[in-house]
Symmetry: C2
Subunit: 181 residues, 2 copies
């Protein structure tokens, strides 16, 4: 059966996923990646980033197309609302990373998913970035993530969320911090 | 002169910027914001986030339109490359936040900008998220940001970058971590 030769679950090609894991075990240099974004200021708080090239699997690579993303502040924060705020993109990144991990882990464990939805909320007190209160941090004070999953039995689904959090790049970046030079 | 009544520098409406600061000083509750993203899994590592509503200035607000963003893994990471990876959106967020801050700070200081470009690079060893090495973290090991500015004299421009880093929400989130529930 084709499904035995190339089993796809939740849209994840598990055969290729396991082959990739084996390849990396054979040569750990394959796992060293560098991702990049370039950004160009437009006007005021409006800027645009392009994401295209990256390094990985021991070579320079590109996504199949360059993507551009606008960021801005809304009018209430003295911007022109040409795109989401930078801090909202962090919430998108966190939700997307946990969700991709969930789908991969479910596929690897043979768990079927039919629906995954999440909401991410970040509380921020702008007294920090406005320089009006030294004791208030610039970034989010807290972030809350809620998941709603449908698929195989609830206990299996719940453990997917836990494991996804344990293996999420963005969750680690956001909770543990990264040295920035 | 109109430019005295409503001075705009670098595309930043400085009169409104200072009025906003005064308003916040008068009632610090205005500065309490909550940003949100909702995410829906599509297939495999592909998901889509929507960013629209937020809370701020003591009321529920919306951006002037809902924005949607796809995230995925590239083929080399067993995805279908329907969008950037979640970790690349973090780099975009960081560049956009520092750039918006730069423009605001320059305007407040009366410094003219003509060009701002930045590149953000994040190094990540995927042995972490693949679960193949306990000592390797899941997220970026380091992030490097480079800025190229044109405008008023170089010393003033350099100090803008420093101040922008000191007042950046995303820089704080990425370097210092945030509690995630």
């Amino acid at each position: 059966m084709t499904t035995m030769d190339n089993p796809v679950r939740n849209g994840v090609d598990t055969a290729t996923l396991f082959a990739t894991l084996d390849a990396v075990k054979g040569n750990t240099d394959i796992a060293k990646f560098q991702f990049r974004a370039t950004n160009r200021w437009v006007s005021g708080t409006h800027s645009q980033s392009t994401i295209h090239g990256f390094y990985g699997a021991m070579q320079e690579m590109t996504h199949r197309q360059p993507w551009t993303f606008d960021a801005d502040h809304p009018a209430v924060l003295v911007g022109a609302d040409n795109g989401p705020t930078p801090v909202e993109f962090v919430l998108h990144a966190l939700a997307a990373c946990l969700t991709a991990g969930l789908a991969n882990i479910a596929a690897a464990r043979g768990v079927n998913l039919t629906e995954v939805e999440s909401t991410v909320e970040g509380d921020i007190d702008l007294l920090g970035i406005l320089g009006l209160a030294d004791e208030v941090r610039n970034g989010y004070e807290q972030i809350k993530v809620s998941f709603k999953l449908r698929g195989d039995d609830p206990d299996k689904l719940r453990s997917l969320v836990d494991q996804s959090r344990r293996r999420s790049a963005v969750f680690d970046i956001v909770t543990n911090g990264v040295p920035v030079a």
